[in-house]
Amino acid sequence: MSEQHLLSVQDLHTSFFTDAGEVQAVNGVSFNLDPGEILGIVGESGSGKSVSAYSIMRILADTGRVVGGKILFKGEDLSTWSETQMRSFRGKNCSIIFQDPMTSLNPVFTIGNQMKEAVVLHTDKRGAIADDRVVELLELVGINEPKKRVKQYPFELSGGMRQRVMIAMALACEPDILIADEPTTALDVTIQAQILELIQSLQKKMGMAVILVTHDLGVIADMCDNIVVMYGGRICERGTAHEIFYNPRHEYTKGLLRSIPNVNNMKKKLVPISGTPINMLNLPKGCAFCARCDAAMKICLSTPPEELSINENHRAACWMNVKELYETEEAAQ
């Protein structure tokens, strides 16, 4: 066996069984996560980025099910774990923070009460010692007057503060992995900067691995070591931040980068990706992106592209790369 990763997702398939039919939200996703790494998953709404994260935690909605693939945590297959084992996995080994800090906190309990629950559930701290731990955690995430805050209810805090509480709660047991699902989308830029800075500094301090799920390319560029780009439930491209931003090799990634304002030339016209996001109920036979792709070829319509290694830090699933490869080979002959 090759080197063991902290988390290894292998050919994950997750489907939702709705009245309208099976929605293949995640369609063969594989990635590895190593300790201390910040991995960014980027994509549009409906691309399967959040569902991938939820599949790892096994917190999918009732209609959703992992229908194929393996998720290995430190080499152990999570699918063989019972619900009880998963419960201790969540929180202790892997925590998640959600987009909307208002709806993910319970409005009828105080901050202290909710945080203590997490501490008591996952550690052997009880009573006053657990209370102290709560205050310590709030301090860690930079909340002023933590002793006062523990008695407050979520509605008394601002959005940024609530997200800090969520982070503190997620860090209660010093997990190996922190999944952040659009952690700053609901926040203002100045507050977003505070939260991102906090996640970065905590990540350095505690050495945990972070999976950052977002649609914001700016946040990704700022935070991540490695990036996975998703479209239509599949991974289009993966690589280091440098490779993805400066040497994109999938037409979708290229399109995304062209459709946002160019920092070096603000007045340059944007090049939008034509069409609309795909209907997940009716996935095309070939490449998921082919209907919107300007460079689509015959083969794109019929066969989904395999991932091809561009270099050791970069892989992309696009037929264009195969074409280029052939052309250079032909030219060489």
Binding site: T190, A193, Q194, M266
Partner: protein, 318 residues
Amino acid sequence: MSDVLLEVRNLKQYFPVKSGFKTVPLKAVDDVSFTVNRGETLGLVGESGCGKTTVGRTILHLYEPTSGEILFDGQPVTSGNIGHMRKQMQMVFQDPYSSLDPRMTVEDIIGEPLDVHHLCKSRKERREKILELMSFVGLNAEHARRYAHEFSGGQRQRIGIARALAVDPKFIVCDEPVSALDVSIQAQVINMFEELQEKLGVAYLFIAHDLLVVHHISDRIAVMYLGKIVEIADADELNERPMHPYTESLLSAVPIPDPDITRSRKRILLEGDVPSPLNMPTGCAFRTRCRFATEQCGKECPALTDRGGGHFVACWNK
């Protein structure tokens, strides 16, 4: 004909809020003045709750202003003539899901302003005008008989834009028109705004919180903080030489989609949160979070003053 299309003078918009037994004014917009030139895009940025949406809505008299003057083409806009004025100024709303009537067809949604202002003499003319507007914003003629729920977010926003364009306005308030859309769709709508401006010479007040988008689309940008404009300048000038400490930190907080640039920049982090507009600090509203705050900032509120080349800043220390 002067260049100035819209002039806002000392606009104030206070909302009464019950606090215990008393009713106190919430100063959503507090003494705001600016101008918009013909065919120009003025970007209006700020954090949530700073009053940028209220400014846009008050210009169109969706709220009755507490005080201040709004001059459109040199003519004062009042509650008496606003019905007539809305033939020249229109609005595109943020949420394409709630700003379209679910029980009306696209044809009726776009046709309503035509009916209100009696712009079409015959049914045939009305129909032709609607189809023309639809093709303008990139919708097919076959969409006319459909209802809003049958469309995606980007398409709905196009319907909203077609409705705003129906009366041939000179000025459109765009209130966060792209923030509910996916990145790939955002670019489509932004490009459409730009093309319409080139073709029709319409001016925009472009309200948004995404600073990159605002920088891209705007000629000039105004930055708001707690109901006041703290800085107005040419878009490039503002981004290259921000003067107000709030603008500085706001710009430095924007994550730039370019790893090398964004990682080499230094973020100027602001402490804490925006103060409650019900309990505003005395003097300059920003001083509680400002790095440079001095005693004077607490005493008196700085006025917007010209620092050369149309770069206006309201700060004592710059």
